[in-house]
C-alpha cells in the first residue's frame, strides 16, 4: 500500500495508488511520488512517478500496461530533458537506449531532477537514506513557495506576506491617513459648519418671497440680506481655511505613501526588477499615489459631508412638503442603477489605461538614458515613432474612458433636470390650484433644495468612477508594498569579521526554471585566496558572484562564508563586508565626493581622498576644475569609462571590505587605464579574499587559483600553471586571449606612432 502521507507534490490519483500498491515487491518501500500534469504525447492528463527504495514506477496511459518500471540498479543514466514549456524524465537502462518515461510542465521539474539524481546515485551504490534526504530537501524547497499565491518565500514554511495579511485595502492604507486624523477631523467639523450654513439660504428665500416682499417690509428685507451676507462670509472663509488644511493633510498622505513605496523598492530583490520595468515602478510612485490621495480625501471628507448634506436636505424637504419631496426623488433609482452599470464598464478601461501609461513610462526610462546610442545610430525618428505608437495606444484607451466618464454625468444631470421639471410642473399646478397648501416661496425654496440635493446624488453616482480608478492605483501600489522583500532571516546575526573562507556546496540555480544557470557547484576558497573566474560569455561567472552577493537567494544547496550559511547572516551586515566592483560602474547624479562616499556616508574628507589615492583616481579628480565637488550627470556622465571605474574602486577601498569581488573591472578600458586600475586593484586586494571575473591574462596571473566555468558548471579548478599543464578549456581560453592581446597591443602601438 502507498501510505497517504508519503512525500508528494499532490495526492496520488487513486487508480495509480492502487496499481502501484499491487506492484510493490516484498520489503519494497515507497519513498516519494510526483504527480504530473501531462501525458507522454503532451496533452494535459494525469500521470505520476512513484519512487521506491528499489524502483521508479512511471504511470502514463501511453506506457504498455499504463506503467513503466525502472529498477534503480539497472539505471545507467537518468536525467531531465528541459524543453520549452515542458520537460521529460529520460532514463537509459544498462545496454538500452534512453527513453522518455514521464512528461511534465515546469511545475514539478526540480523534483524530477531530484528523482533522476536519486535513481542514478542509488545505481552507483549510494546510500538510500542519504540520497532520500537530498530529495526531501528539494521537496522542502518546493514548499518555500506559498501554496496559496505561489509567491516565493524567503525560507520554507515562512508566512506569506500577501496571504497572511487579510486586511482590506482600506485597512492597509488607513495607516497613511491615521497620522492626519486630527487635521482631518478638524476639516470635517469645519465642513459640517459650512454644510449647515449652506442649508440656510433657501429657507431665507422662502421667507423673503412669502412674507417680506408681499408685506413690503424694508427693515426685514435689509435684515435678511445682512443675515445672508454674514452666512456667505462665514461659509466661504471657513471653506478657504478648510481647503488649506485639506491640502496639507493630503500632501502628507501622498508623501508618506511615496516614501514607503520608494523605500520598499530599495529592498526588493533583483528578481523583482528582472520582471518589472523601472518605468512602471516610477509611475506607481508618481501617478498612482496622487490618484489614491485624491480618493482617500474624497472618501474621508467629501463622502461624509455629502452624506450629511443629503440627509439634511431630505429632512427639510420632507418637513416642507412630502409630496414634492417624493416627486424629486423619482429619478434616484435610475441614477443608482446607472452608477452600477457605469462602474462595471469603466473598471477595465481604467486598468487598461494604467497598463498603457506604464508602457509609455517604460519607454521614457528606457530610451532617455540611452539617448547617446539613439543619436549614434540616428534612431531619433524611430524612437519618436515608437513613443508615439505607445502614446497613441494610451490615447485610445483614455478616449474610451473620457467617453464613458462624460456620458454618465451628463445622463445623471439630465435625469436630475427632469426631476426639477416634475417639481415645476406639479408644484406649479398645486400653487395655482391650492395656494393655501403650497406658497410660491415654498416652491422657489424647494427648487433650490432640489438643486442642492442632486449635488450629493451626483457625487455618490460618480464616486464609483473615482473608486474604480483609485482601486487600480491601489493595487499597483500594493504590488510594490506587498512584494516579498529580500529575504533576511538572519537579521540581527551581525557579521563581525570575515576571514574569507567561501564554500559552495551542491549549488544549483536557475533564473526561470527553464534553463539552469548553475549546476552542481562545489567549490572551496580559502581565506586570502585570489581567485580568477574565467569562462565564455553566459557561462555563469557573474551568476556565481551574484549568489555570493545574495542578489538571488532562491538557489538549491548552500553557500558558506567562514563556515556559516550566508542566508543565516544579517543581510546588511554581510553585504557591508563585501566590496563589489562592476564592469560598468554606476555613478549617481551627485558630486564626485559623494559618489565615492556612497559606500561610507560618514567618511571624512581625508578618508575619501585616501581612497581616491589608492584607486589611482585622485590625480584626475584634482585636475577637474571643480575637483571633488564636480557634479556628475546621470549615470556619471562627464567622466570616461576608466575614470568611472577608478571612482568605483575608490568606493570599494573606502568600505574596507573583507571580501572583494571584481566583475570584469578592466574589460572595457585601454591598456594604459588598465594598468592604472590594476595598480589600484593590487593595492586593494592584499590580504583579502578576492574573486576576479577576468579575461585578461595580466589579471589572471595574479590569481593563485583559477575557476573555469562552462555552461553553468565548474569544469576546471587549480592554479594557473596547473591548468596550463592540463591543456584543457583554460589553456584554450588563454591562448585565444594572448593572441587577441598581441593584436590589441600592436594596434595601440600603431596608433601611438
Amino acid at each position: 500500500m502507498i501510505p497517504e502521507d508519503i512525500l508528494s507534490t499532490a495526492p496520488l490519483p487513486e487508480r495509480f495508488a492502487s496499481q502501484a500498491a499491487a506492484m510493490l515487491l516484498e520489503g519494497e518501500t515507497p519513498l516519494f511520488t510526483i504527480v504530473g500534469d501531462l501525458d507522454l504525447k503532451g496533452r494535459y492528463n494525469e500521470s505520476a512517478l512513484v519512487v521506491t527504495d528499489r524502483r521508479t514506477l512511471a504511470f502514463d496511459q501511453y506506457h504498455a500496461g499504463g506503467v513503466y518500471v525502472a529498477e534503480h540498479a539497472q539505471v545507467d543514466k537518468a536525467f531531465v530533458k528541459r524543453m520549452y514549456g515542458n520537460a521529460v524524465l529520460r532514463v537509459a537502462l544498462r545496454g538500452e537506449a534512453p527513453r522518455d518515461i514521464f512528461r511534465f510542465t515546469y511545475s514539478v521539474a526540480s523534483l524530477c531532477d531530484a528523482a533522476a539524481l536519486f535513481a542514478e546515485n542509488i545505481a552507483g551504490g549510494g546510500d538510500v537514506r542519504q540520497e532520500f534526504d537530498i530529495v526531501k530537501a528539494t521537496f522542502d524547497k518546493k514548499k518555500s513557495f506559498c501554496p496559496k499565491c505561489g509567491r516565493a518565500l524567503g525560507q520554507q514554511g515562512a508566512a506569506c506576506i500577501s496571504c497572511t495579511s487579510k486586511s482590506t485595502l482600506v485597512r492597509k492604507f488607513a495607516k497613511y491617513v491615521r497620522p492626519q486624523l486630527k487635521l482631518m477631523v478638524l476639516c470635517l467639523a469645519l465642513s459640517l459648519v459650512t454644510t449647515a450654513m449652506a442649508l440656510a439660504p433657501p429657507y431665507v428665500t422662502k421667507t423673503l418671497v412669502d412674507t417680506v416682499i408681499p408685506n413690503k417690509d424694508l427693515n426685514a428685507l435689509l435684515m435678511l440680506v445682512a443675515i445672508l451676507l454674514s452666512v456667505y462670509i462665514v461659509q466661504y472663509t471657513i471653506g478657504a481655511v478648510r481647503g488649506y488644511f485639506m491640502r496639507i493633510a493630503g500632501d502628507r498622505i501622498v508623501a508618506g505613501l511615496r516614501n514607503d513605496i520608494y523605500e520598499k523598492a530599495q529592498y526588493l530583490p533583483l528578481s523583482f526588477y528582472d520582471k518589472t520595468s523601472t518605468g512602471s515602478v516610477i509611475s506607481r510612485v508618481s501617478g498612482d499615489t496622487s490618484t489614491l490621495q485624491a480618493f482617500m480625501l474624497r472618501i474621508t471628507q467629501e463622502a461624509i459631508i455629502q452624506f450629511f448634506l443629503m440627509i439634511g436636505i431630505i429632512v427639510i424637504m420632507f418637513l416642507m412638503n412630502w409630496k414634492l419631496t417624493l416627486l424629486s426623488l423619482t429619478p434616484i433609482p435610475l441614477v443608482v442603477l446607472g452608477a452600477r452599470y457605469f462602474g462595471k464598464r469603466i473598471a477595465p478601461v481604467y486598468r487598461k489605461i494604467w497598463r498603457r501609461w506604464a508602457a509609455v513610462s517604460s519607454i521614457l526610462t528606457d530610451t532617455l538614458p540611452g539617448v547617446r546610442v539613439i543619436k549614434s545610430f540616428t534612431g531619433e525618428q524611430r524612437s519618436a515613432e515608437k513613443f508615439e505608437s505607445y502614446n497613441n495606444e494610451w490615447l485610445i484607451e483614455d478616449r474610451k474612458a473620457a467617453k464613458l466618464s462624460n456620458i454618465f454625468p451628463s445622463a445623471v444631470t439630465f435625469f436630475v433636470t427632469c426631476g426639477s421639471l416634475l417639481i415645476w410642473g406639479f408644484g406649479g399646478k398645486w400653487v395655482i390650484q391650492s395656494p393655501q397648501n403650497i406658497s410660491v416661496g415654498m416652491l422657489v425654496s424647494f427648487i433650490s433644495y432640489a438643486a442642492m440635493f442632486y449635488g450629493p446624488v451626483n457625487f455618490f453616482a460618480t464616486l464609483n468612477d473615482t473608486y474604480q480608478n483609485s482601486l487600480t492605483s491601489a493595487q499597483r501600489i500594493l504590488d510594490v508594498i506587498d512584494a516579498e522583500p529580500e529575504a533576511d532571516f538572519g537579521k540581527g546575526n551581525l557579521v563581525k569579521k570575515v576571514k574569507g573562507k567561501i564554500e559552495f556546496r551542491n549549488v544549483n540555480f536557475s533564473f526561470d526554471r527553464i534553463k539552469k544557470a548553475l549546476t552542481n557547484i562545489n567549490l572551496v576558497i580559502e581565506p586570502g585566496d585570489i581567485v580568477g573566474i574565467v569562462g565564455t560569455t553566459g557561462s555563469g561567472k557573474s551568476t556565481l558572484v551574484n549568489l555570493i552577493m545574495r542578489f538571488y537567494d532562491a538557489y538549491e544547496g548552500e553557500i558558506l562564508v567562514d563556515g556559516v550559511n550566508i542566508k543565516e547572516l544579517d543581510l546588511e551586515s554581510y553585504r557591508s563586508k563585501i566590496g563589489y566592483v562592476q564592469q560598468e560602474p554606476i555613478m549617481f547624479k551627485d558630486t564626485v565626493f559623494r559618489n565615492i562616499a556612497f559606500s561610507l556616508p560618514d567618511a571624512d574628507v581625508e578618508q575619501v581622498i585616501h581612497a581616491a589615492d589608492v584607486a589611482n583616481a585622485h590625480s584626475f579628480i584634482a585636475r577637474l576644475p571643480d575637483g571633488y565637488d564636480t557634479m556628475l550627470g546621470e549615470r556619471g556622465v562627464g567622466l570616461s569609462g576608466g575614470e568611472r571605474q577608478r571612482l568605483s574602486i575608490a568606493r570599494a577601498v573606502l568600505k574596507n571590505p573583507s571580501l572583494l569581488i571584481f566583475d570584469e573591472a578592466t574589460a572595457a578600458v585601454d591598456s594604459e587605464t588598465e594598468h592604472l586600475i590594476q595598480q589600484a586593484i593590487e593595492r586593494l586586494i592584499s590580504g583579502r579574499t578576492t574573486l576576479m571575473i577576468a579575461h585578461r591574462l595580466s589579471t589572471l596571473r595574479k590569481a593563485n587559483k583559477i575557476v573555469v566555468v562552462d555552461k553553468g558548471e565548474i569544469v576546471e579548478f587549480g592554479s594557473h600553471d596547473e591548468l596550463m599543464a592540463l591543456k584543457g578549456k583554460y589553456f584554450k581560453l588563454i591562448e585565444i586571449q594572448s593572441m587577441s592581446e598581441k593584436i590589441r597591443a600592436g594596434k595601440e602601438a600603431e596608433r601611438f606612432e
Binding site: 514549456g85 515542458n86 515546469y106 499565491c149 500577501s162 520582471k275 518589472t276 526554471r513 527553464i514 555552461k711
Partner: protein, 163 residues
Amino acid sequence: MSERTYIEYDNARITRLDGLALRVEMYDGRVFENVEARRLFPITGASRYITLLDEDGVEQAVIRNLKNLEPDSRKAVEETLAQYYLVPKITRVLACTEKYGKLTLKVETDIGEHRFEIKHVNTDIKVLFDGRVFITDSSDNRYEIPGLRKLDKKSLALLSPYL
C-alpha cells in the same frame, strides 16, 4: 567566422532519429548527425529560421523557412518542434479570479482543460500588435491565445481587464 549554412528547398534531406534528434544530409555531401531543431523566433515567426544545434549546442545549419522544405523533411522537423515546444493554445477562458494580486485562470486549450496561476498580471501577460496574447504562469509555463478576436464574448469579457 565561417559562413552560415542555410537549408532551403531540396538542398538537404532531414530525417528523424530518436527523440528530438535529427539527421541532416546536405546536397553537397555534408552530414549532420544528432542535431536538434530550435526556433530562433519562437513567438514572432514559428516556422521561419529554425536553427539546428549539435549535442554541444553549436549551430550546424539554419532552415530559412519550414514551408519551403521537402514534405518528408518538413514533417520530421515539425514533429520534433511540436514535441519540444509546448505552448498550449487557449481557446476559451472558463473562469478568471483575482486575489491578492494573483490571477487564477481556468482555460480550455488545444491539449485539454487546465488551471494555472499568474503572479504578475502586468508583466506576465503580453499582448502583441497582431492580437496574439502570450501568458507566462507562476511555474514559467507558456500559453498562447492565437487571436483575441477568435475568443468568444464571455472569455474576452473575463480576460479584458488584464490585457
